[in-house]
């Protein structure tokens, strides 16, 4: 036992290199930013509230062996379609939010099924397949809203349609559902206001994911994630399990995007989804997740630290280097270097594990 504990300190650092590194960077960044802690907390909590659901929706496919789900963009697109529908129909408040989720649901199922089918045909190359699928669907999405809106889709509101009579404007105001979830239950603690309802949604999802992994289906996913062949031999329907994981992830992703955008309050029709996958995945990696292993705790911790660093690094750069512009370059350098670092570290750990085996 003694020997094991001694070993575990080293192993702890080894296993958690990325989060530890990030924690230190965040700490240094907070000190160097010179911003009041209240402001930083408010910003971090705001970004945590709007992002954690999206990041959590990535956990299931990782456990099921599908790797980092770049196809989450598909879910985001479905969510945005729901939001556009609600904005066009002017359904207000929580009712609007739920309607958006309802509209997005079948779309997300369809897109998730497409993604799942392709993933099942591209075993071992899921991540790149998902990424390319995202690019492809982006084209379809653009086609639908640039030419379909106002012609096939009955959107008439001149505030949403381009002057030419068809095609959506590049920005849609989401005033109708803006902050509908955030303001449902808001508690102020000092300078920080907590959108409890939004956090409750993430908490519910976290609980759901944890519960899922204790069911038969969850165990199947784990088995499939660990080894496809062994799972198959054990009588698990591998393709079906993977499909369910994809469907879950895509549907959750669509809800995540709706929660994200109800907080932002405006929808950039043609590029809001562009940022979804990369940043959600980076946040998850920062929390210490890997391509093959992810937990709810890692997702939440990663979201917090990743976004905290994004908040402090422009100010830190500006304070340390004395120029607004160099501050931005510093921020981009730190933020993206750390993502690259975490990916490199993971592959390092993986190859070491492989050697040990």
């Amino acid at each position: 036992m003694e020997a094991r504990r001694k070993f575990s300190v080293k192993a702890f650092i080894k296993a958690n290199g990325v989060p530890i590194m990030f924690f230190i960077l965040c700490g240094l960044g907070v000190l160097a930013s010179g911003k009041p802690i209240g402001f930083l907390m408010q910003e971090a909590i705001g970004r945590m509230a709007r992002n954690s659901f999206l990041v959590l929706s990535l956990v299931v496919p990782i456990v099921a062996g599908l790797g980092l789900n770049f196809a989450i963009v598909l879910g985001a697109m479905a969510g945005q379609a729901g939001l556009i529908a609600v904005a066009a129909a002017k359904i207000r408040g929580l009712m609007g939010l739920f309607t958006a989720i309802l509209v997005a649901f079948p779309l997300a199922l369809l897109l998730g099924w497409t993604a799942g089918t392709i993933m099942n045909k591209a075993k071992g190359r899921e991540m790149i397949a998902g990424m390319i699928l995202g690019f492809f669907m982006n084209g379809v999405y653009m086609l639908v809203f640039l030419f379909g809106a106002g012609t096939v889709l009955p959107i008439k509101d001149p505030a949403m349609i381009l002057p030419q009579g068809y095609g959506l404007r590049n920005t849609v105001d989401l005033q109708v559902i803006k902050w509908s979830l955030d303001n449902l239950l808001k508690v102020r603690i000092g300078p920080v206001s907590l959108p409890l309802a939004t956090f409750a949604a993430s908490a519910l999802l976290s609980w759901g994911i944890v519960k899922l992994f204790s069911t038969k289906l969850g165990q199947d996913m784990r088995a499939v994630g660990q080894d496809l062949r062994i799972a198959e031999v054990a009588g698990i329907k591998v393709d079906r399990t993977r499909m369910i994981a994809m469907l879950l992830s895509t549907v959750l992703g669509s809800i995540g995007q709706i929660i994200f955008l109800q907080n932002i309050g405006t929808l950039n029709v043609y590029d809001s989804h562009g940022q979804t996958a990369t940043f959600a995945i980076a946040a998850l990696l920062v929390g210490g997740a890997t391509v093959t292993k992810a937990t709810v705790g890692q997702a939440l911790l990663g979201t917090f630290m990743f976004h905290l660093l994004f908040i402090v690094s422009p100010y830190a750069g500006q304070n340390l280097l004395g120029s607004a512009m160099v501050g931005e370059y510093f921020r981009a350098f730190i933020a993206y270097a750390v993502i690259a670092f975490s990916l490199a570290l993971h592959s390092l750990q993986r190859s070491r594990m492989a050697v040990r085996r």
Binding site: M21, P36, R169, V172, N268, P314, L320, L321, A324, A332
Partner: protein, 379 residues
């Protein structure tokens, strides 16, 4: 253990970087001459020099003028993907209760959301928005005042200027990709109509698309070869114009060599095309428009182009930003209303040094479209 060692090395490197970098920031002490002025601050957000040098330099000039009363941040280079960063930078500016106005130039996506978020807790902040990227109608409802170049009106003013410079023909270089853009196509039509009105012959020439197989060098080569041909056909009193930024440099060069007329670039500014076409080194005078103008004028007069070349005296976004800051200060001090057209015009013209034509985008909004008067070299 190896990993731990690496982590430690990284940590040491980062802390060394931080420690080493923290010193140069010290000299930014407040200008003593400014210490008696009022205490409120103005926040400015621009791009970095890689996104738009003019705007960044204008912000630096304003910062040099007002010292610590200006808080300058830059939006991400990757602004389409990092809207959350734009939002948190703007809310960061507003988290300082002394900041009473924010000037955003250019207003990249995320600005609308940031304004809403800031207005939730603070209703005393004035937003000056320059070049809105998000939907104009939406932005108009959120900003206190907005500015943008009136590119359609330029369809008239450029041709009128060409006439003033003595043109009998007006040559418009473009290519299908640009002509399928609604605004550029409309402007071409306006140019053609204005030419008819003024008795100028309108000539349209299709140039190779710089995005095409021959790239920018191919398009530039075409311009250098084609201008002499057109001058041979129509005579020297032909005004050349192109819709593409990359073509300005060869266009100016060829026009000067052939004795043609050049009224305005696609994006009028002393720094656009002129310095390179004339072989001027503006390294030491970056951002100092009067000096750059003087250097251009000298070279053009020497080469015999007097009275046949023109441009706007200052990049218009620089004018918008500097005037925006002045207007914001006056509005916070209660001296003017931002809806007062005379005050807006006065502030813009004070910064531009020439007269400006303003028009409103919509009657009930406060979105100003502007066109500047030109400076004619050697006149």
């Amino acid at each position: 253990m190896k990993l731990f060692f690496r982590l430690a090395v990284c940590l040491i490197l980062v802390s060394a970087l931080l420690a080493g970098c923290s010193k140069p920031a010290e000299p930014q002490t407040p200008d003593p001459s400014q210490s008696t002025t009022p205490t409120f601050k103005i926040g400015i957000m621009t791009g970095t020099v890689s996104q738009g040098e003019d705007e960044y330099r204008a912000a630096e000039q304003v910062k040099a003028k007002y010292g610590d009363r200006i808080v300058h941040v830059t939006y991400p280079d990757n602004f389409m993907q990092e809207q959350e960063t734009t939002i948190s930078l703007l809310t960061g500016l507003a988290s300082d209760p002394d900041v009473k106005a924010i000037v955003v130039c250019q207003a990249v996506p995320g600005t609308a959301a940031a304004i809403d978020k800031i207005r939730e807790t603070r209703d005393d902040i004035i937003f000056v928005v320059v070049v809105p990227h998000e939907d104009v109608k939406l932005m108009e409802s959120k900003a206190d005042i907005m500015f943008e170049t009136d590119n359609l009106a330029r369809g008239r003013t450029i041709v009128q200027l060409a006439k003033e410079l003595g043109a009998t023909h007006f040559l418009h270089y473009s290519f299908p990709r640009h002509m399928s853009m609604e605004l550029l196509a409309q402007r071409r039509q306006i140019m053609e109509d204005t030419c008819k009105e003024l008795g100028i012959e309108f000539v349209f020439v299709t140039a190779p698309d710089p995005m095409g197989p021959d790239g920018i060098p191919g398009a530039q080569k075409f311009i250098l070869e084609d201008v002499p041909r057109q001058v041979a056909q129509y005579g020297k009193d032909i005004c050349v114009f192109s819709t593409n930024c990359g073509m300005q440099e060869p266009l100016i060069k060829a026009a000067l060599q052939e004795g043609a007329i050049f009224a305005e670039q696609c994006c009028p500014s002393p720094t656009h095309g002129y310095p390179n076409a004339l072989g001027l080194d503006v390294g030491g005078i970056a951002g100092d428009m009067p000096k750059i103008l003087a250097a251009i004028e000298e070279t053009i007069v020497e080469s015999g182009g007097s009275g046949r070349f023109a441009t706007w005296p200052v990049p218009i976004n620089m004018v918008f930003l500097r005037a925006g800051v002045e207007l914001a200060i006056q509005a916070v001090e209660g001296e003017i209303q931002l809806t007062d057209e005379a005050a807006v015009k006065a502030a813009l013209e004070a910064e531009a040094g020439v007269t400006m034509q303003l028009s409103k985008y919509s009657e009930d909004g406060n979105f100003w479209l502007a066109v500047m008067d030109s400076v004619i070299f050697g006149k």
